[in-house]
Symmetry: C2
């Protein structure tokens, strides 16, 4: 089944661009509540799978053994801006493990936060791996080595940590992964379908803090993300602002190349979506629209309007156009 | 007619993203030689129309009256990186007009060239309109006021300069423009079809230096662009590197939101293409593929490979994937 047109980019009265994609709203039984495009489309969920990657070790009790707080778990699921709240936490975490920045295998990255990036340019500050948006996930992988073992090269696909991630990922998505890609942070990223991800997110949404080890891990990760929106992304970012707008009731996660997932505990639903062309503006417009559609957020909330009705301006500030979901999603 | 899938983004063995669009190869009689998607799709050509915007005043003889060289005309058609070769020329041009940076209406922009941008951040250098990638086009508009008149607000849609641009644009594309959008530089950008742009580019390709005023203007602008690749874009950019690879035989122009046009004098053909989602990586892959297909460039030329077989790496430099045109275009 083909991708469905989901987002329009208007400049004046001219439809300048469109974004097509696939989206699934699913319950914990794996039943599709509503969908657009093809639910069986294979995707690399990229960073939208970070709570699944964390679950593999959290459900073993490794988080408790390491004395981790919800803040640690939130940054383990983050694609963060490299702000001080993120980097201080990751640096402390590494220290508590008796490790340091050099033990990470995520690679160096200039912080996404522009003010901070410019400050580092001004000060000629060296780039470091802790600023990598995935450094929390990697601190989690290093923590997981205490349980799963393996050598220092924990991003290798045959490393016990990544094999544990894969097994867990396939069990929770209830699909054999058709393959993997190397993510921006060098870790394997396992493929699944849009429906597989939505189903997994619905399980997170329905997990009980009193359930089995996996359920408790899911519930704890959901709570960690939902209650620490600023740690999951950062200043001005969609995940952070939309979770803040929801007041701790939901967990959201963006992934590179226009993936987005949502965990909606009150509705007992999970969402997964992928814009085929990889455009961030597209997936942000759709996730905001679906959260309004499902009654999670009000359409007129500023954080929602910022994604569902995105104004574009000329460099002199003259209104030039808008990014909006298609009429059926508005 | 629907857009056609033209570009694939692979990560490992997984097809992670696709880009669809419309492309037309046309001759000067307006006959379609080959096309993909729907030739009648309405587009805002954005900066890919800069040689048409310049033609409106060049064909009046204004360039000769102002003593402009081919370098001036190349930068008038440019979306430049804000490098010294661009900004020095525009600053000198404004001075020769008895004007200065404050007469521009393109707005300030941080230079696209990263090294230069970082240098300006380090030195806390103030942003200025001359660094705007469209400053050459705007120096052209100021020059055009000598012929068409009008007040200082030359980016207003009812300004004589923009009215002249519109009339010329409709004549050369042989289509009434169905509307306009406000471009990033605040000037009106007139809509046409993919075929309309390809037809216009084919007229440029066939224009004679001995023809009428319009033909001479087209031939001169083509020559100016083709012989000054570095002025039309800048270091590392697709237009510059592909024109350099062609050794002055062709003129190319990118436009925001994934427009691309080509003027091919030896073949007597014009190309216009638009990737529906606005992705730069998509339109660059397609224009490179079409230039190879038409025998203009060799597939194994490094400048071509850089766009037709774009490697993606993790932040530690591990190969992660590739951007490639679809099999039919390779």
């Amino acid at each position: 089944m083909a991708a469905e047109q989901l987002v329009e980019v208007w400049r004046g009265d001219i439809l300048e661009c469109t974004h097509a994609g696939h989206a699934v709203v699913c319950n914990a039984a794996g039943e599709i509540v509503e969908s657009w495009g093809d639910p069986d489309t294979v995707i690399l969920p990229r960073s939208s799978a970070k709570m699944l990657q964390a679950l593999s070790w959290v459900e073993t009790g490794a988080a408790d053994r390491a004395g981790l707080t919800d803040a640690h778990l939130a940054v383990a699921c983050a694609s963060h801006e490299g702000e001080a709240i993120h980097t201080d936490l990751v640096r402390r975490w590494l220290g508590d493990l008796g490790m340091s920045e050099g033990d990470l295998r995520c690679g160096v990255q200039s912080p996404w936060n522009r003010d901070l990036r410019n400050e580092m340019i001004r000060e000629d500050a060296p780039l470091c791996q802790i600023h990598n948006n995935c450094s929390g996930k990697h601190a989690g992988f290093l923590t997981a080595m205490g349980t799963f073992g393996g050598d220092a090269e924990y991003t290798e696909v045959d490393h016990p940590v990544q094999q544990a991630v894969k097994a867990n990922f396939e069990e929770v998505t209830e699909l054999a992964s058709p393959g993997f890609g190397v993510d921006g942070c060098s870790a394997p990223n396992y493929a699944t379908t849009v429906k597989g991800m939505a189903h997994a997110m619905a399980k997170f949404a329905n997990a009980s803090e009193d359930g089995d080890a996996r359920e408790r891990g899911m519930a704890r990760l959901t709570r960690a993300m939902a209650s620490h929106p600023a740690l999951v992304a950062g200043t001005g970012r969609a995940c952070t602002e939309l979770m803040e707008a929801a007041g701790g009731r939901i967990a959201l996660k963006f992934g590179a190349e226009a993936n987005y997932v949502a965990i909606l505990p009150e509705q007992g639903l999970g969402i997964s979506l992928k814009i085929t062309d990889g455009a961030t503006r597209g997936c942000e417009a759709v996730i905001a629209a679906l959260l309004v559609r499902l009654g999670v957020l009000e359409a007129d909330h500023p954080a929602v309007q910022k994604r569902m009705n995105v104004p574009m301006f000329s460099r002199r500030g003259i209104p030039a156009g808008r990014v909006v979901p298609v009429a059926g999603l508005r």
